[in-house]
């Protein structure tokens, strides 16, 4: 059953060896020439599966991968039956929000410690289940050692908070608290980078 059709992939609810699973299928795009279309779908499917495996190894809750099919450009993964953080945020008390955001910050630090950047950190891509925040959709992720990429990763979440949850201005501060407690590099360096990125916005005064 198709449950979501994004810009590049279909998310299908399916069963696999008796389990409820999510199948992510990268769909062909008619506007791209086939050579480029196949190259992108292949690269992205492979990369996403690798990132998810490595993220899990780094201690970040992500769906378990059951199968990767490079001919059909699909990834079959665990169905995380929880609540999306986006819808959850307004329902919580400030203390609970702080707790969740600290967890998110810790998760991001674990990703960065494993040299992974997620590339699309928004509250739509986070699910709370059994007291753990799962990260999903590594479709824009990449392996990187760069401070720049890590800064961009966090900056994106900061922007996502301000557009999706403008009524709670402290969310990002809580995230950074959690981040600092786990990040193995110099967290101050990352904070400086975020400030730099904010100033870099086009036509920013």
């Amino acid at each position: 059953m198709l449950i979501y059709r994004g810009a590049e992939a279909e998310i299908i609810m399916d069963t696999y060896l008796g389990r409820k699973v999510i199948k992510k299928r990268r769909i062909p795009k008619g506007y791209r020439i086939p050579e480029l279309d196949k190259r992108l779908r292949l690269q992205r499917t492979k990369e996403e599966a690798k990132l998810m495996v490595e993220a899990r190894r780094g201690g970040v809750p992500v769906p378990i991968i059951y199968d990767v099919n490079l001919k059909e450009f699909t990834i079959v993964m665990e169905y995380v039956d929880g609540e999306r953080v986006k819808e959850l945020i307004p329902k919580l008390t400030e203390r609970e929000r702080k707790e969740i955001c600290t967890m998110i910050g810790k998760n991001i630090a674990r990703l960065h410690n494993a040299n992974i950047v997620h590339g699309d950190l928004t509250t739509s891509n986070m699910i709370l289940k059994n007291g753990k925040v799962y990260f999903i959709d590594f479709g824009l992720g990449e392996f990187s050692f760069e401070i720049e990429r890590r800064g961009v990763d966090l900056h994106l979440l900061m922007e996502a908070f301000s557009s999706a949850h403008p009524e709670y201005p402290d969310l990002f501060n809580y995230v950074m608290e959690g981040y600092q407690s786990i990040y193995k590099g110099n967290a101050r360096e990352i904070e400086k980078k975020i400030e730099e990125i904010i100033k870099r916005g086009r036509y920013m005064k």
Binding site: A7, G30, Y31, R32, I33, L36, V152, R202
Partner: protein, 330 residues
């Protein structure tokens, strides 16, 4: 109501006259003159001199071809920014002079917003996601929470700038876009090029460097142009689609000089079809930088009571799209 608009943000100086007819834009006149550097890119001072030389004649020509009396003009609009300082100042000076001479109100207009408004005014789209592609600007703009907001943009150079730089490297004249388009039609072999997308943003400098390397290796120019277009335009189409999915809009509008490219139009159209959305593109003379879009946006602003006093009519080289209060869409 009739508005006269002066555009002068970069290489083009333009004067347009428009009239509102049942809330749609009727273009009465739209004349432009484009500065072409003898070599290299735009020299801001040379461009401004060019604009100053041609402006008086363009104003006269616009009023003549609109077949109106200059006293019928209700408001004078000018491109306040973003753009190159000397060019902006030249256009603004002319607009102030006209406003004082004709004793008409003055309105400063955001150039990027004007590219979107002219699409809404002339193509029948109502609430589009705009892919604005020109030399200096590559942005994805849509209306959200009372303002036009930039959802995606280039992280380094504009797509038009990328094509012009490639053109210079391949010894093609400026502007190179149309020539690259022709050459690309004869391309057969796709050469792998970097495809850089970060969320809803794009980047083209890596692609440009790789394309130059292919040229040094002796690949056919036609194949290079073909591969650059296919790769860069696919990336633009993809981020536009992402933005549409993100903001939940069903219309896509193309604007800017690069919107003249048929292959880009074809891709955006195809993308729109596949997701059941509608595709719009203004006629070519309204896609490129022009005075009519400034006049039309100025008219919309003036109609809801916005004017700029002559003493406050500064230009703003870094005028942000989301700094504009969009009163006319409230």
């Amino acid at each position: 109501m009739i508005a006269l608009g002066i555009e002068g943000t970069a290489h083009t100086i333009g004067v347009g006259i428009v009239e509102d007819l049942n809330d749609k834009c009727r273009v009465l006149a739209n004349v432009i003159k484009m500065y072409k550097p003898a070599e290299g890119g735009i020299h801001p001072r040379d461009a401004a001199n060019h604009h100053a030389t041609h402006l008086p004649h363009l104003v006269t020509k616009a009023i003549e071809s609109a077949k109106i009396d200059e006293r019928e003009i209700d408001v004078i609009a000018f491109s306040k920014g973003p753009g190159m300082g000397p060019c902006l100042r030249t256009a603004a000076t002319a607009a102030r002079t006209l406003a004082l001479y004709l004793e008409k109100p003055l309105v400063g207009v955001n150039h990027c917003v004007a590219h979107l408004e002219i699409g809404r005014g002339t193509t029948g789209c109502e609430d589009p996601v705009l892919l604005y592609v020109s030399g200096g600007n590559t942005q994805i703009i849509a209306f959200a929470k009372g303002k036009y907001r930039v959802f995606g943009e280039t992280l380094d150079i504009g797509i038009g700038n990328c094509l012009d730089k490639l053109g210079r490297y391949l010894n093609l004249p400026f502007p190179s876009g149309p020539i690259i388009e022709k050459l690309a039609k004869r391309g057969k072999k796709y050469l792998d090029l970097p495809y850089t997308i970060k969320g809803m943003d794009v980047a083209f400098s890596g692609l440009l460097t790789s394309a130059q390397k292919y040229y040094e290796k002796g690949e056919r120019i036609e194949d290079i142009c073909y591969s650059v277009q296919e790769t860069a335009f696919s990336a633009l189409t993809e981020v536009t689609e992402r933005a549409m999915a993100h903001v939940g809009k069903e219309e896509v509008l193309l604007g800017g000089g690069v919107a003249s490219n048929e292959r880009l139009r074809e891709m955006i159209k195809k993308m729109a079809e596949e997701r059941g959305a509608k595709f719009f593109v203004p006629e070519k003379s309204l896609c490129i930088d022009n005075g009519a879009m400034i006049a039309w946006t100025g008219l919309l602003m003036y109609r809801c009571g916005i004017t700029t006093k002559v003493e406050d009519s500064f230009i703003d080289q870094r005028f942000r799209t989301d700094d504009v209060i969009v009163k006319w869409r409230e």
